[in-house]
Symmetry: C3
Subunit: 266 residues, 3 copies
């Protein structure tokens, strides 16, 4: 099981209305003609490094080993912030050193990070506003063609991404909404396996947000048609969801909102 | 004319903001490294099986024989609803048994449907909320690599999709808006060939919706710049359209609205 | 550096909710099975030929030589407007003759344009509303497989795209906002190299729009966190931008708004 003739995945805040994504892909395809592209998303909210880091970390384990991911959410473009290339459990990452790669790197069992310092691997002319095209795209093409990470620059310690902490007080666990997905599901920083190990205890646990309380169920469909329920989502994180509806709309919730898990036995 | 080294097309209600589509593609690419992807759409309104079925049936005949389509609009995920794989006029379909595949199957001349019952073709661990990734993606990879449909499970009769009926009373034919496209065109369930066979009769026919009446013309451009007209759309279905404008906005129309075709000779 | 086994890029106003893009890709993949697709965008505002022309011209130089671009923003579909195929600096373009290709052709050093007149290269049946699928897609497949442009029809002079003029009065240069990108940056028709050649003069120049005036800086990051600045963007055109914000929202600006560049020495 390998990635075949070079898979390059992209995650940006460029949107899909403009020519920016095509320029990045064009530079890569010019230098690695057999590569194939997978768009993770280009709709990270502009300059929202946390949302980008979350989405990247969630997608990465499902991409084939050998995949090169170009991640560009880069408010500091044109400043002195470093640009990185990394290897994480057999996949490659290219992106700015602003925490965007931090969550994916933290979850990896094996990782290696270098700072990009060798202009010979970049485009001949580097603009100030578009390092995704001028630096990251040619480096991604180099890696997709089997180039060696260590040639791109010296080892580097990547900036980590800070997530809000989880606080436990007896049977109460306090966390936060860290992401709201396309269905309006509220994804929290509470790991289901850590806070709700399998067994009857989970059955009567309840998760609250914005003065609404939801039973913990084992699938969306266990809830009634418009009922708020808490489930362990595909990522292993507790999320609040409404079957055939939007938990975000029902609760008027936003990212960062507090959530409280109340367990019947601790 | 074959699909080349494996074409996989995707139709979902996942949206494009999140990592879900990439996870499905990553699982497929991990198991069928040479596959190429075509996104039909990921913007089916959440859990809107009718819109998904319509869009799938419209796209399918244009995809090369051998294409594998993964279709996921699946409000019943985690319940007992079956998951299907099918062959329809040389293309393959993988999706839930909730009517989503029904329209495409009904239009096919040759079809074969099986219910997915063999976990050996799925991911080793099956979550409760993401069968698109855990069951449908590996099955699609298997089919894209030339695997045999019949091995995936026993024959099955797929749930059909119910569309609103067309009612004829003399020269009046009553139908419904079944889809509103990105241009605001109102697509109806009235087949042009059935209700307006070629000839002078069509020339003076009129199609009404929400108290507005439109002449039947043979191209958008026959209408004035802001005129409401009725045309036979690319699918062979009558649609209401405004040149350089949106019929949906002009009429305040919604899916399900009644339309009335008045023919001058029956 | 070649495009490998056929790269086809698409730019349309079809949106991504519907089956239209998949139909175009399906026709191409049926006739050129090894082709790979790059979406430039499908979110050109409906029938907005200027936005399409701008985006196409901006993307084109970054796509590998040999790439075939299908561009469909086509309010005149079904009328007598011509459909064109062209070669521009080694890339191919297929689209309607309404100015959409004009900006890309004007920027090319070498160009050749033909009018599509040979139905043998099209689908057997040509509808009136979807020439992107019925004419342009099969022609793109023919070119992607190495077909000869001159066989498709006779030479043609493409309709140019008219952009608003730049007017200079002494140290004042008056232009317009011609595009607003996904970040809310306001892109103008003022070429940085023409109006602000490198040197100290640029340092004290100022660009105004809607009664707000911005200093000309050399990168987004030179501005304060919410400061309006003017920079030479990735295209070499002056643009107004707000770091970590939207210049379009700050100014309430729209495409077509007047901008005024005031230089301290002319």
């Amino acid at each position: 099981m390998t990635a075949g003739p070079g898979l390059v995945a992209l995650l940006t805040d460029f949107g899909t209305r403009d020519w920016y994504v095509a320029a990045v892909k064009g530079v890569i395809a010019s230098r690695a003609p057999r590569v194939r592209f997978v768009d993770i998303t280009h709709e990270i909210p502009p300059q929202d490094v946390v949302a980008g880091a979350f989405t990247l970390a969630a997608a990465l384990p499902w991409l084939p080993p050998g995949t090169v991911v170009v991640a560009v959410v880069d408010p500091g473009v044109g400043t002195g912030r470093a640009v990185l290339a990394a290897q994480a459990d057999g996949r490659f990452l290219v992106g700015p050193d602003n925490g965007l790669l931090g969550l994916a790197l933290a979850r990896a069992n094996r990782r290696r990070v270098v700072r990009l310092t060798k202009p010979r691997y970049w485009l001949p002319e580097i603009g100030r506003t578009f390092h995704g095209r001028d630096i990251m795209a040619p480096v991604a093409a180099y890696l997709a063609r089997g180039g060696a990470l260590r040639r791109l620059g010296p080892p580097h310690r990547a900036t980590p991404l800070a997530l809000p902490p989880v606080v436990q007080r007896g049977r109460i666990v306090a966390g936060r909404v860290i992401h709201i997905d396309a269905f309006g599901n509220l994804i929290t920083n509470l790991k289901a396996q850590r806070w709700l190990p399998a067994g009857s205890a989970a059955r009567s646990a309840r998760l609250a947000c914005r003065h609404r309380t939801a039973p913990v169920v084992s699938s969306y469909a266990e809830g009634g048609p418009r009922q708020l329920v808490a489930v362990a989502g595909a990522l292993g994180l507790m999320e609040l969801a409404v079957r055939n509806g939007s938990a975000a709309r029902l609760l008027g919730a936003r990212r960062g909102d507090a959530v409280t898990l109340r367990r019947t036995s601790s």
